[in-house]
Symmetry: C2
Subunit: 396 residues, 2 copies
C-alpha cells in the first residue's frame, strides 16, 4: 500500500487566501429551490443575436478549426480598430487596430495586463467596490494590493475622492486599476477626474489599467468617458474591453486590450503562453457583431434604460431602501435599513423571498451592507415581481 504522502497537496498560500465568490455562495444557497428570480450574475438573460451565432456556425461548417494568430485574426483586429475609431476618432482605425490584442474575454485581458506589468511585491491600487477579479489578478502575480474605496453619499450615489486617491499613488505605485462605469455601484469617472488621474500617474510613472467593458452601457450619452480619449499611444495606459456586455456575448469568452504599441509583442507572447489564441469561429462571430453592432447595442442600451427606469423608482419607493440611479452599467446597488449583514440578507432573500441578489461584500469591504441587483432582464415584469417579493418579505 502506498503510504500517506508526507507533504499535503495544497495550492500555494496566496491562492488559498483568495476568497471564493460570495455571489456563488448565495447562488449555492438557492440551489434546488423552486421559483427563485436570479438577479445575481452580471449577465443579460437574452441569447446572442442569431446573425452573430450564424457567423460562428458558418465558420465551423467551413472547417475553421485550426490555430490562429496569437493577437487575433487580422480581420477582427481591423474591425475592432474601426469600432474604436468611431468612438474615439482622434486616431485612425488602422492606428487603433495596431494596438489591439484579442483575448479570451475581458477578464482574460485584465489578467494578461497584470502579467504584462506587475512584478512580485509591486504596489498596486484598485478602486473598490469592484468585481473581485480586479483585486485577485495582481494578487496572483504576487503584488501587494491596496484598495481605495468609493464613498456613497446620503442619496446612495457613489463618489471618488480624487485628491485623497492621488495622495496615495506615489512613484512606488506600479499600477492603478479602475473600473468605470463601475460594477457594482454604477459610478462613472467624469472626464475631469480621468484627466486628473492621468496627469498624476504620468508624474509618478504609474500604469493605469482601465476596465471599460461597460463603456457603451451608459445612459448619459453615446459612450462613457474613456481613457482612450485622453491618453497618447505611449502613455502607460491599458484599456480592457469585452464582447460580453455590449453584444450579448457573455458565454463566448472574447474581449480585447488596447495597449501602447511597445507592449504588443509582449502581449502576443503572453497570449501564446496563456491560451495561444481564440477560436477562429468565435472571432468570426465577433467580426459580425462589430460590423452590425448598431443593430444590437443601441437597442440593448435602450432596453437596459427601461429596465433601470422600471427597477430604481420601484426600489426607491420601498421604505428603508437607499438607492441612486446609476449612470452606467446594468446594476442597481442599494442598501436596506436594518439589514447590515449583506451576505446573510442575500441568503435569506433567496430562501425566504425567492430573490437572487449579489451581496455587496463580494465586491470588497467597501461594499459591505449593500446588495447588487442586475437589471438586465428581457421582461421588465420580472423586475416588478422582484420588488413585489421584496415588499412582501419586508412585510410592507
Amino acid at each position: 500500500m502506498t503510504p500517506t504522502p508526507q507533504f499535503t497537496a495544497q495550492a500555494r498560500e496566496s491562492i488559498g487566501a483568495l476568497s471564493a465568490s460570495r455571489i456563488r455562495e448565495v447562488a449555492n444557497a438557492g440551489l434546488g429551490l423552486p421559483d427563485v428570480l436570479p438577479f445575481w450574475f452580471g449577465e443579460s438573460d437574452e441569447v446572442t443575436p442569431a446573425f452573430i451565432r450564424e457567423a460562428a456556425i458558418a465558420s465551423l461548417q467551413r472547417g475553421e478549426t485550426f490555430y490562429s494568430h496569437n493577437l487575433g485574426l487580422p480581420e477582427l483586429r481591423s474591425a475592432i480598430g474601426q469600432y474604436t475609431h468611431q468612438l474615439h476618432p482622434q486616431y485612425s482605425a488602422d492606428a487603433w487596430a495596431a494596438r489591439v490584442a484579442v483575448t479570451a474575454g475581458g477578464v482574460n485581458g485584465l489578467m494578461l495586463a497584470s502579467q504584462l506589468i506587475v512584478n512580485p511585491g509591486d504596489d498596486v491600487v484598485v478602486v473598490t467596490p469592484a468585481w473581485p477579479n480586479l483585486v485577485a489578478q495582481p494578487h496572483i502575480m504576487g503584488a501587494a494590493v491596496r484598495t481605495f474605496d468609493l464613498q456613497p453619499d446620503a442619496a446612495g450615489l457613489w463618489q471618488l475622492d480624487v485628491p485623497r486617491l492621488l495622495e496615495s499613488i506615489t512613484r512606488n505605485t506600479r499600477m492603478l486599476i479602475v473600473n468605470a462605469p463601475n460594477n457594482p455601484t454604477g459610478w462613472t469617472l467624469s472626464r475631469p477626474e480621468q484627466q486628473a488621474l492621468l496627469d498624476h500617474c504620468r508624474r509618478t510613472g504609474t500604469w493605469i489599467l482601465a476596465d471599460e467593458v461597460y463603456e457603451r452601457l451608459y445612459f448619459a450619452g453615446h459612450a462613457a468617458p474613456s481613457f482612450l480619449d485622453l491618453a497618447t499611444p505611449d502613455d502607460r495606459v491599458v484599456v480592457a474591453h469585452s464582447f460580453s456586455k455590449s453584444f450579448l456575448m457573455t458565454g463566448w469568452r472574447l474581449g480585447w486590450l488596447v495597449l501602447p504599441p511597445a507592449l504588443l509583442d509582449a502581449a502576443g507572447k503572453l497570449l501564446e503562453f496563456n491560451t495561444s489564441c481564440s477560436p477562429v469561429f468565435t472571432q468570426r462571430a465577433a467580426v459580425l457583431a462589430l460590423e452590425r453592432g448598431e443593430e444590437v447595442t443601441p437597442r440593448l442600451v435602450a432596453h437596459l434604460r427601461q429596465c433601470r427606469d422600471t427597477l430604481v423608482p420601484l426600489l426607491q419607493a420601498v421604505p428603508g431602501v437607499h438607492v441612486a440611479t446609476p449612470l452606467g452599467g446594468m446594476y442597481a446597488f442599494f442598501r436596506l435599513e436594518g439589514h447590515t449583514d449583506c451576505l446573510d440578507t442575500a441568503k435569506r432573500l433567496v430562501r425566504e423571498a425567492g430573490i437572487g441578489l449579489a451581496p455587496g461584500s463580494a465586491f470588497g469591504p467597501g461594499g459591505a451592507g449593500w446588495l447588487r441587483w442586475c437589471f438586465a432582464s428581457r421582461d421588465t415584469a420580472r423586475l416588478e415581481e422582484g420588488v413585489a417579493r421584496l415588499r412582501r418579505w419586508l412585510q410592507l
Copy 2:
C-alpha cells in the same frame, strides 16, 4: 501638445526577456513565398470531424451563449472522468471526474498549474528540449527556472539521465515539469522512470506537473505510461491534457487538468480570474468527441504511424541525416551533418527549398542544431515531396 511621457511604456523586464517564438521567426521568413510545405506547427492539417463540429452548431442554434461553471460543464467533466477511467481503471469514472478542471486548451491548464503552485523565487526544473511554453509559464510567475536536458545517443534517440536529474531535485525544488511523450524529441518516459521520479519527488515534496497531451499519440501501445497510473489522489501531481491532438481540435482551445482533490476549489477560483469558463458550445463538442472518440483517435494514430513510417525511413536514407523513430507524438526530430546553426538552416530551407521546419533551438539550448518536422499530414505524399526537396537542396 502633450509632452513626451517621462516614463516609457514597456512590459516588465522578465516578460520582455522571454524569447518570441523561433518557430514563428522561421514562418515569418516564409511569408509571401509561394509553394512552401509547412511542417513547422504542431498541428494536423485535418479539419475537426463533422460530428464534433455539429454538436457545437446545435448548441449555438439552441442559444447556449451564457456563462457556465468555472470548472466546466458537469456533463463534460463526467465524460472526461469516463474517458480517464477507461485508460486508468484504478479509480472510478466519478472519482476521476471530481478531480477534473476544464481549461482553455492544454496550454491554459499548464499556466493555471503554475499559478496554483509556483511562488515568486521558487526553484522549478523543466526537462528540455520541450515546447517553450513550459519554461515560460513558471518564469512569468516569478520562479527561478532551471532546465535539465535530455541527451541524444549516436542514433538520435533521446534519453533521460534519471539519476542525474534526481540529484538536482532537492527539498528546495518546488516543481518538476516534464512533457512525455515529448515535443519535439518523441522521447517517452518509461514506467520505471516515472516511478523513480515520483518516489524521489515524494521525498523532496516537489510537485510534478506532467504534460501528457500526447498520451494517446503513442505507437508502442494503447497509451503512453502516465503518472495517473502511479500517483494517489493526494500526491503532489498535476496532469495536463488537451482535446487538440487526440481529437483534431487544435483551434477549439479546450483541455483539462487532473488535480489532487484539495486543489479543485483553488483551480475554480483561478479559472474565474483567468477566463471565467469555457464556452458551452465548445464544451458540448468536446462531450461528443469523448463519447465517440473511438471513431477518431485510433484512426488518427494509425494514420500518424503511417506518416511516421513514411517520413522517418526516407529521412534516414538521406546521407548526413541523424534521426531516430519516435515512440510517440507527431514529430521527427533530426540533425543534418554540416548544418549546426538550426535557425539559419530552417530559414534557408524555407526560402531555398520550400520546406517549413521548426528550429530545434526553439525548444531550448539542448535542441540547438536539430530540426523538428511535424509529420501530421493528411496526404503522406506531402512528406515524400518534402524529403525530395531536402535531397535536391542538399544536391544529392
